[in-house]
């Protein structure tokens, strides 16, 4: 039976649980991305992730382009060789030349930003070096130091050494502390990379005090054009505060160019009207989990058991609360009604799903309520329609709407807001403030690259990117979703979702991972050497915390929950235990206020000096660090890597669903292709889910860049078996949010 036939005749087949598990495992192994085709020699080049476009990515193809690119690559190779040779020929020895005289100094002060913004924020603990170069190319370090709390620096130098005839030029180099690299015994060493060079005219160094005045660094600036805590990136490739590791770009090119070629082929077929079909699209892309399962057992993925299982343990990983009106049922709600939408093509009803737990602990849907228009003709946004398994075809259609809603919710709220943007706010505050404190070594490698990938996502995913064109949300509506989701996220008191049953493997795996990370973080902070340094540089933690709170979005709680959970004094009601709280913000906690606005993110500490730090402050630090690492790694991995499993088949699930041409609107059968995303959106969605799920680079265990703390890897290895029992291979847990 062909795939086409399968889809046309698809009906939910009754399936046995054991059979479903075996089938799922078989297909997971079969669809493992390591079996996929890789870029071949004749394929186009892809420079980096930022060259990707939803329509046609900026790859290099065509004979002339390829020849040109070959020349450019040749030149780049020569430059790399030249740099290496240059480094060998003219090593920068870590030796101070001359006898620095404290009476002759180069001074100045470092601040963030430009004249217009942030210019009064000092950059403290920044590493600085004063360098000279001889006429024959040798480097001479004249002195080094760090900026103080006011950003001021003073570097003594040897006046008479500087004016030796062979000294050709002098400069002040400002270094940013890069990602920590760990040796085999776990010792970390900061990597300094030159961030800015201030040329000093040699003849201007005449002794006493040469002032570089205010050295403004365009360094991890907060954007002013969005209420979200986002970093300014002027030019992704040339002027960004962060950069991908070279291995990442190579991995992206290797794994992704074949996928890009499929999309290009489809777009060309659509343009030339060559009869591209949904089945062709699904067939051309690498097989995903649901397609594989359907081939082996038609209808297995449209059944209620599979539906419940994926809602609980799939990419969707929904929040299961008890139904306040019927504690025997679990309730999942997706709210879209408050966000700006256009109802021209796409339906976007609010979704309520009720589940009961089966004996094996997996949820089974019993009722679905959709609120809002289901056909293009309807205008009433409050109209509710409830469906149950007794509704036959309509029940299948309702589940499809739920999958689409859950897919979009996972993509936007869990994935993009909850891990990408959430991690970015910590990455910015971390890079702006943590330099000498060992916490920098703990966090930076996990928070690497996230600002770059978010910058790309601004263009191709949200804003005027894919999601806007593939669902009813407008760019403003997407911003609203992200903004309000961010308003519900806080490190304080967070724990992953608590399992509601033995079969809740997602919750169990996430709790196990949390425990592993918390133990690792605690050991790291409690290490006597680290603790001494953490306390010595506690001011960095204080500024880190203040930056976080200051730039955090306002705290948000929807109207429904305000009434359902809070009493008149703003405290949680006693009878609110139906609401699963641990993985959500603690509503009894006082929110920090900035300019009278309650912020979402809590302060880690209110003490600026290490000698006043209490155990509570240290516990807050452990909790916050665990949260950051968890969200950037496991949290992101779950919502990201399972995308191809759950939104890798157009008719099974997409990020938007159209009203269609039929009288029932979105409640029509799968065989009504007018409901599914159009062909362009369909191939783009497959492209998306392939790209996001299969980076092939940046894993904790693989540790490609040697920047993952060995203790964390060892600890994870010890729990490998426990994770396998929860259907999670720790090899796929990413070490950063890089895609």
């Amino acid at each position: 039976m062909s795939n086409l036939d399968l889809m046309k005749t698809r009906k939910a087949q009754p399936e046995s649980e054991d059979n479903l598990d075996v089938l799922c495992q078989d297909c997971l192994e079969k669809t493992d991305f390591s079996n996929r085709s890789k870029r071949k020699f004749h394929h186009p080049h892809l420079k980096n992730l930022n060259r990707l476009e939803v329509h046609k990515s900026r790859t290099h193809q065509g004979l002339l382009t390829r020849i040109g690119l070959f020349c450019v690559e040749l030149y780049s190779g020569w430059l790399r060789f030249y740099k290496k040779a240059h480094y060998k020929l003219f090593p920068r020895r870590n030796k101070i030349y001359g006898n620095p005289n404290p009476d002759h100094v180069v001074t100045g002060y470092l601040t963030f930003g430009s004249r217009m913004a942030d210019a009064d924020s000092p950059i403290f603990n920044m590493h600085l070096e004063l360098w000279a170069r001889t006429f024959w190319g040798g480097y001479r370090k004249l002195n080094q130091g760090t900026s103080d709390r006011e950003g001021k620096f003073s570097l003594p130098y040897d006046l008479f050494y500087v004016h030796r005839f062979y000294i050709r030029k002098v400069w002040l180099a400002v270094y940013q502390t890069g990602y920590e690299h760990f040796s085999k015994n776990g010792q970390h060493a900061p990597e300094y990379t030159e961030f800015k060079r201030v040329r000093i005219n040699k003849s201007d160094l005449v002794g006493i005090n040469y002032s570089c005045r205010q050295v403004q660094l365009f360094y991890w600036e907060y954007r002013k054009d969005t209420p979200l805590p986002r970093v300014v990136i002027k030019d992704h490739d040339k002027d960004a505060p962060d950069k991908y590791s070279p291995g990442f770009n190579e991995a992206i090119e290797k794994t992704f160019v074949p996928i890009e070629l499929i999309k290009l082929k489809h777009l060309e077929m659509i343009r030339l009207k060559q009869g591209l079909t949904y089945q062709q699209i699904v067939k051309d892309y690498p097989e995903n989990l649901t397609v594989c399962m359907e081939k082996k057992q038609p209808g297995s993925t449209r059944g209620d058991d599979w539906f419940g299982q994926r809602m609980m343990n799939g990419m969707y990983a929904c929040d299961f609360d008890r139904d306040p009106k019927n504690p025997d049922l679990y309730w999942v709600h997706h709210h879209w009604g408050s966000y700006e939408k256009t109802y021209h093509y796409y339906a976007m009803p609010d979704v309520d799903m009720w589940f009961e737990l089966k004996e094996d602990g997996l949820p089974k849907p019993v009722k679905i309520t959709l609120t809002g228009p289901l056909t293009a003709q309807e205008k009433d946004e409050k109209q509710k329609r409830t469906f149950t398994p007794a509704d036959g075809e309509k029940w299948l259609a309702a589940k499809r709407v739920c999958r689409v809603s859950a897919g979009l919710n996972a993509e936007l709220s869990h994935h993009f807001a909850g891990t990408h943007i959430n991690s970015e706010q910590y990455a910015i505050a971390c890079s702006r403030n943590l330099r000498l404190n060992p916490i920098a070594g703990l966090l930076k490698s996990f928070l690497r690259s996230v600002v770059l990938v978010n910058h790309t996502a601004d263009r191709i995913l949200v804003g005027n990117g894919y999601i806007t064109s593939a669902c009813a949300l407008t760019p403003k509506g997407i911003d609203q979703v992200v903004y309000k989701t961010m308003g519900t996220l806080d490190w304080k008191g967070y724990r992953p979702m608590q399992p509601i049953s033995e079969a809740h493997t997602y919750a169990k795996a996430s709790n196990l991972f949390w425990d592993v990370v918390y133990e690792f973080v605690s050991n790291y902070i409690d290490d006597p050497d680290n603790k001494e340094q953490i306390l010595a540089h506690w001011f960095e933690i204080y500024c880190f915390s203040e930056d976080l709170v200051k730039h955090s979005v306002p705290f948000f709680l929807c109207n429904y929950l305000q009434h359902a959970l809070l009493d008149g004094k703003g405290n949680m009601k006693i009878d609110s235990d139906w609401y699963k709280q641990p993985h959500r913000m603690d509503l009894n906690d006082d929110r920090p206020e900035v300019d009278g606005i309650k912020k979402a993110v809590s302060r880690i500490t209110d003490k600026s000096a290490g000698d006043k730090v209490s155990d509570e402050d240290l516990n807050h630090l452990k909790q916050a660090c665990t949260y950051m690492i968890y969200q950037a790694t496991f949290g992101h991995t779950w919502s990201n890597s399972k995308q191809y499993d759950d939104i890798g088949e157009v008719l099974y699930c997409s990020l938007g669903i159209r009203f269609g041409d039929g009288p029932d609107g979105v409640m029509g059968p799968e065989s009504d292709y007018s409901i599914a995303p159009d062909l362009t959106r369909s191939t783009q969605m497959m492209w998306w889910s392939n790209m996001l799920s299969h980076t092939g680079y940046g894993y904790i265990i693989a540790d490609e860049d040697e920047d993952v703390p060995p203790a964390l890897r060892e600890s994870l290895e010890k729990h490998r078996k426990a994770f396998v029992d929860l259907d999670l291979d720790i090899n796929i847990i990413q070490s950063r949010t890089n895609i």
Binding site: T107, F160, S203, V206, I208, Y210
Partner: protein, 366 residues
């Protein structure tokens, strides 16, 4: 056993560096002097700065009991004729915010004298070596009463010196305090080498005027313009000085600070941008100066003050490079060619015009 000897290249290092430093110092000094001679003295017929001044004549009498080891030249009770010249640096406008100066010549002549002393307002200077002075000159860029903007940006010490030395609208040249800032040699009768700094203060204890107030401190240092609504005329200080002399003599005290030299002293003791601690280096009276009669513009302009006019044992301190703090006095001592050339140029081409009392304000020319 490894011999405990200093490698020969290290032993030779200091004399070699010193030799090249002196050569460079000499070349820079001569080059600067020639440039100044040709452009400033011959073409412009101007001093390098301090053109806006007035001279007067009187006498100097060394005090009877100075209380410190004396150089033979400072014989107690000795009286010499003397001239002083007060001036404002750079600009031809007394109402501008500028450094004021006093030059003392211990003879009633235009050039020759046993001793000349040049002093400025402010205990610390705006530059501290030939190298820094060249930067100072390079970044002058005078326009509309503003100058040295880049210099002040790069050198906070220059800003401090300007704040200490600049005076805004003093009531008289005679109530200001003037300092040599740079130290000189001092070999007294006891043959103990010492360094000396000079200053003059009013003979009577009158408050110093023209010190920069909080408002002036807020104005960028490079802005030396007159304040808006200024009513004082361009020559008001010179006119006031002449007027005061008509009513009676003006008296100053010449005071000194001494520092005993030692082999291991810190080079910072020569730094003219740092004060000597008054507790350990108290100011002591050396002489009283009494000025009776002003000199006219022509005589005042013809005068030359030079560091060659210093008695033996009171000369400049040797310097070994252009970065040496003592190199400033080396430059002053070796730039007489420019001074003489200016006087010859005046003789040949005529006297530069006197500063008119017109409305051309904030100007650096007559």
């Amino acid at each position: 056993m490894k011999p405990n000897r200093t490698p020969i290249y290290k032993l030779l290092g200091t004399p070699i560096h010193r030799f090249f430093g002196i050569v460079r110092l000499w070349i820079y000094t001569k080059a600067f002097t020639w440039a100044l001679t040709i452009y400033g003295s011959i073409i412009m017929r101007e001093k390098m700065s301090h053109n806006n001044g007035i001279a007067a004549v009187g006498s100097i009498r060394f005090v009877d009991n100075p209380g410190f080891p004396l150089h033979p030249f400072f014989e107690p009770g000795k009286t010499l004729p003397c001239r002083v010249r007060h001036a404002a640096a750079s600009f031809m406008d007394d109402a501008m915010r500028v450094v004021r100066s006093m030059s003392i010549k211990m003879a009633d002549t235009a050039k020759k004298s046993p001793m000349d002393i040049e002093l400025n307002t402010g205990e610390t200077a705006l530059f501290w070596s030939i190298a820094s002075f060249f930067r100072f000159a390079k970044y002058k860029k005078t326009r509309f009463g503003m100058q040295y903007e880049d210099y002040y940006r790069k050198y906070p010490t220059g800003v401090e010196g300007a704040h200490v030395g600049m005076r805004r609208d003093p009531t008289s040249f005679s109530n200001l305090r003037y300092y040599t800032q740079t130290p000189f040699m001092y070999k007294a009768d006891d043959n103990v080498p010492r360094y000396i700094k000079y200053r003059t203060i009013p003979a009577e204890d009158v408050p110093e005027t023209g010190l920069l107030d909080e408002y002036d401190m807020l104005i960028p240092t490079e802005n030396q313009r007159i304040l808006p609504g200024e009513t004082r005329v361009r020559n008001y200080l010179k006119e006031e000085y002449v007027e005061t002399l008509r009513t009676g003599p003006i008296k100053y005290k010449l005071q000194v600070q001494l520092h005993e030299a030692s082999d291991d002293h810190d080079a910072e003791i020569f730094n003219c941008c740092r004060k000597w601690d008054e507790a350990s280096h108290p100011w002591m009276d050396l002489a009283e100066i009494t000025i009776n009669k002003p000199l006219d513009w022509a005589e005042s302009t013809r005068m030359i003050f030079t560091m060659k006019n210093l008695p033996k044992g009171l000369g400049i301190i040797p310097s070994y490079s252009i970065y040496d703090y003592n190199s400033l006095n080396f430059l002053r001592r070796h730039s007489d060619l420019a001074r003489n050339a200016r006087v010859w140029a005046i003789k040949i081409f005529g006297m530069p015009p006197e500063i008119p009392d017109n409305d051309v304000r904030n100007s650096n020319s007559a």
